[in-house]
Amino acid sequence: MSSAISVRRLTKDFQIGIRGLKLRAVDDLSLEIPRGQVYGLLGPNGCGKSTTLKVVLGLVSATAGEISILGHPSATAEARSRTGFLPEAPYFHKFLSGRELVTYCARLSGVRPSELAAAVEDALGLAAMTDAADRPIGTYSKGMLQRIGFAQAVVHDPELVILDEPTAGVDPVGSAAIGRMIHAMRDKGKTVVLCSHLLGQVEQVCDRVAIMDRGKLVLEGRVEDVLARRDRHVMTIEAMTPAAREAAEAALAAHGARVTSVTHPRRSLEDLFRELVTGSRDA
């Protein structure tokens, strides 16, 4: 079976100014994104993540290289009909209601009239937007905008969902809700490509990651493989006394091992926040 996205030797140059100076946004990038996984594309601002996604979706042309989506050349209607996309900082027509927007996007994505109502309700339900669906989009909070954006991206039941910074500007509760939506997509067997620089979230939801810097791929692999340090171990011990610690260190030293640090385990600020704040007004 072909990859969800296959990028071979992609290069993208932008012409700047009337003298036509070249800015290389993506430099000889090759990637194979397997199907059915959540794939994180990471990197600092300006590293070429969004440009890569735009080339994949046919929104900008490649200077060199080949890209295919689900076995079809990218930028073809066939490839895009099986793909859903949530752009960075999405902006939608403010005068439409959430339901009207999702219906509009469903029709543009080829959902048949007979299946339209059910598809729209499913997408709104998945994005937890059913209650606010009939309000004008102009009244939505940032988190709700991201969620209605997610609904329009998945309304036609795509095999591949591309999310560009889906949690930018969203509070931790909204961010966790988007994380749950991503898990729900993976549970349905969909491929999700998540472009972000919120590393904590990527670590929690992604199966594989690729890290880009200055247009180049610098690391790619399974999350546990790239993060694990095989030469270090962590033990969590309850009720440790100084005497117990000395004895443990001596026992380890007898086997040639050495304790390099002893600290108290911490929970993340995000975990603490989510524990204390049960929900935001628009959740």
């Binding site: 929104l59 042309s61 752009p87 902006y91 509009y104 996007c105 029709r107 543009l108 080829g110």
Partner: protein, 277 residues
């Protein structure tokens, strides 16, 4: 209905909704209507022409002026709002082609101008009919032959105006597909309208012999690239003429407008296909 046509119509529908909810549309509609209605008050300044002709010219002028402003500014705004707000990213990532997007924008904007033309020409028709009733009664008492108003001529005129504004919309969309900024599209679109109104000068000049090959080529190109928007100004003859205008002449003007519209949209689509969003 083919899927492609359905997608185009959905883009048109949302474009139409966006446009009619803008204050700019309502503002120009009110201004145009006020100009048509005020023509009755200003009829004393008819410069020696018949009253109905004065009312008609005043109304036609308002329709052309505000219709042109609406066609240029609103079309450029509708296009650039999608690009600048990045809603085009969301839409074009779907199985929607660039030509469907551009044609959807065109038909949405053209439908808005259709509403504008129908409303103003309807209002003008009512104003002219009401004044005609009074003038006919006065002429009969004086034993003169009155100038009458043709409702069917008004319908033909409204259709031709709609076509003319459609040509303007197609030009503005083509310029917008190429332009980087809203302001550039509005300025170039406005210049195109002015040049189209003056195109007949180039048509006259091209018939006269010229010593310069370069100048001759420039004139020839001007008459081919720019539509002659003055050819749509046959409202007087259609609405007030005793004999009307031959159907062949009206059809020729309409076909010329349709041809320019199709040609500009074709070029606009080619340009927009290469644009990076």
């Amino acid at each position: 209905m083919t899927p492609s046509l359905q997608r185009t119509l959905w883009i048109s529908r949302v474009t139409f909704l966006e446009a009619v909810r803008q204050r700019f549309f309502a503002f120009l509609m009110v201004l145009g209507a006020a100009m048509v209605l005020s023509s009755v008050s200003f009829r004393a300044f008819d410069f020696g022409h018949g009253e109905l002709k004065f009312i008609a010219d005043f109304g036609f002028g308002g329709m052309f002026l505000f219709g042109s402003v609406l066609s240029v500014v609103m079309t450029a705004q509708l296009f650039f709002s999608e690009i600048d707000n990045k809603t085009a990213l969301t839409l074009l990532a779907k199985p929607l082609s660039r030509s469907e997007f551009l044609l959807g924008k065109f038909f949405g904007a053209w439908a808005v101008l259709g509403v504008f033309v129908v409303a103003l020409s309807g209002l003008l028709g009512v104003v002219m009919w009401a004044r005609e009733q009074e003038l006919v009664a006065m002429a009969e008492q004086a034993g003169k032959v009155p100038v009458t108003f043709s409702a069917s001529g008004m319908v033909q005129f409204a259709l031709l105006q709609w076509l003319r504004l459609g040509v303007v919309i197609a030009i503005v969309l083509t310029v917008s597909a190429l332009a980087r900024t809203f302001l550039f599209a509005v300025v170039v679109g406005s210049l195109a309208v002015v040049a189209g109104q003056l195109q007949w000068i180039a048509q006259d000049a091209v018939l006269k012999p010229t010593g310069s090959v370069l100048y001759g080529a420039f004139l020839w190109l001007s008459t081919r690239l720019l539509p002659n928007l003055q050819q749509f100004n046959i409202g007087d003859a259609l609405v007030l003429g005793a004999t009307g205008v031959p159907a062949e002449a009206v059809a020729e003007v309409a076909l010329s407008g349709l041809a320019y519209m199709a040609a500009y949209l074709f070029v606009g689509t080619l340009v927009f296909r290469r644009r990076e969003i």
